[in-house]
């Protein structure tokens, strides 16, 4: 049943494990960057000043409506044409950050808007500045409500790192593809079904534990 021989070899698992590491590094970098820019964009959209508000609206609505894969291709090829070819890791991180920042911004904004007006008024009448109010009153509470949608967006991001395969990023799926296409370690496996199954189980474990983490985090914050 099937051609599993290659998975009896430790080297295959080290090869895939390194791919998993690349996947996680790229995802983590994009998650951190997109959180930072997501919060900034959300605050920009919430701002009243039109020169800040409208560009933020345009960016968020425009970028969210584009395929993330187009952004990856765009960043990769465009940087090549500019003669400043980005390393593939950074091309993927940049494209995922550009896209996910826009999505995160909407999640953050919805979280902030879900805080009752009374709290804002109370904070302002206690003499807190806008920044202090955001930092100490609104954002901590909003954060708890943002966790489920944010984590599901991070899972999407994690899955989207697989698109890096197409531009040659040596992440998990690309390595699975190398195992089943052409020669790998001097032999032809030609076992796409087996290899893709193994790779998808690794993705599954990664993404599924991330959603479990979200539940735990939610409960922890709810108590605190």
């Amino acid at each position: 049943m099937g051609n599993w021989a290659v998975f009896g070899d430790t080297r295959t698992w080290i090869f895939l494990g390194n791919g998993l590491l690349v996947t996680m590094q790229v995802a983590l970098a994009a998650i951190i960057l997109s959180m930072v820019f997501g919060v900034l964009l959300a605050l920009a959209r919430l701002a009243r000043f039109p020169l800040i508000h409208y560009p933020a609206v345009a960016y968020i609505e425009g970028i969210r409506a584009l395929p993330v894969f187009l952004l990856i291709i765009y960043v990769f090829f465009a940087s090549a044409r500019l003669g400043a070819q980005l390393p593939v890791e950074w091309a993927v991180v940049l494209a995922l950050t550009v896209y996910t920042s826009a999505v995160n911004a909407e999640i953050v904004r919805a979280g902030v808007l879900s805080i009752e007006k009374g709290q804002v008024e109370a904070a302002r009448s206690l003499g807190l500045t806008y920044t202090q109010m955001m930092r100490y009153v609104v954002l901590p509470q909003a954060l708890q409500r943002m966790i489920p949608p944010l984590v599901s967006q991070f899972i999407t991001l994690l899955k989207d790192t697989s698109l890096g395969t197409v531009i040659g990023l040596l992440e998990l799926l690309r390595r699975g593809e190398i195992i089943y296409r052409g020669t790998y370690q001097g032999r032809v496996n030609n076992n796409p079904i087996e290899s893709l199954l193994v790779v998808s189980i690794i993705y599954f474990i990664l993404c599924y534990s991330l959603s479990g983490l979200s539940l735990r985090l939610e409960r922890k914050l709810a108590v605190g």
């Binding site: 409506a65 187009l70 697989s162 593809e177 796409p192 079904i193 893709l196 998808s200």
Partner: protein, 223 residues
């Protein structure tokens, strides 16, 4: 030779891009119809009073929501031929998109069904409706009204994800963009045009979904 003005390459090759544009639309419509049917069946399976079906529904939803679409695409296009089942590139894209998004449709449908008051199911059953008849005539029609906005958003997500079909050479919009780019090296103009064409589809659809969402929210308050 006069220098080309910005965007000339796009104007000259617009027919090719539009060819891809239509394939993108066609692929989106077909696979969303399949995923709608499949997703509804799985969504219902997740709540029927029959454990094996429920477990199947849960496994399906969790598996497909937690693995990348690109793997499923490769599975259809590279994997299944090894088992003697061959799909064309278009069919591979069609089915992998449908199967992947069906998991999300199932979750939306399940949430919709569970938002219908229990009393409705009980009333229908006590009037002599079978379980399936109750679902078909009482629960699902109401649930679908609630589920329209999330389904609309899913359709937009699916439409954007059709761009992955370019990786297996389905001649959709992004693929045509890549073909033009390799032929002309006018990367910025071409991919900007490709992006604008995607926006021509996703922005109006998004606006429409928002409109329906607001209408439904107002109707809900009125009731």
């Amino acid at each position: 030779m006069p220098p080309d003005y910005v965007g000339k390459v796009v104007i000259d090759n617009l027919p090719l891009l539009l060819e891809g544009f239509w394939i993108t639309i066609w692929l989106s419509i077909l696979s969303s119809l399949i995923s709608l049917v499949l997703g509804t069946v799985i969504g219902v399976a997740r709540i029927v009073p029959f454990r094996p079906l429920r477990s199947f529904g849960t496994v399906y939803v969790e598996f497909f929501r937690n693995t990348p679409l690109l793997i499923q695409l490769f599975f259809f296009y590279h994997g299944l031929p090894r088992a003697g089942i061959t799909f064309s590139a278009f069919e591979s894209a069609l089915w992998s998109l449908a199967i992947y998004h069906a998991a999300y449709v199932a979750e939306a449908v399940r949430a919709g069904i569970q938002s219908i008051h229990r009393g409705q199911m009980e009333a229908a059953r006590s009037l002599g409706f079978s379980y399936l008849a109750t679902m078909r005539y009482i629960i699902l029609p109401q649930a679908f009204a609630i589920v329209i906005p999330p389904l609309g958003n899913l359709f937009i997500a699916l439409l954007k994800n059709t761009s992955l079909a370019s990786t297996i050479a389905v001649a959709e919009l992004l693929y045509q963009g890549e073909v033009l780019d390799s032929r002309t090296f006018r990367t910025f103009e071409i991919f900007t045009a490709v992006g604008i064409l995607y926006l021509c589809l996703t922005l109006p659809l998004g606006g429409f979904v928002n409109l329906v969402e607001r209408r439904l929210a107002r109707a809900g308050r009125g009731a």
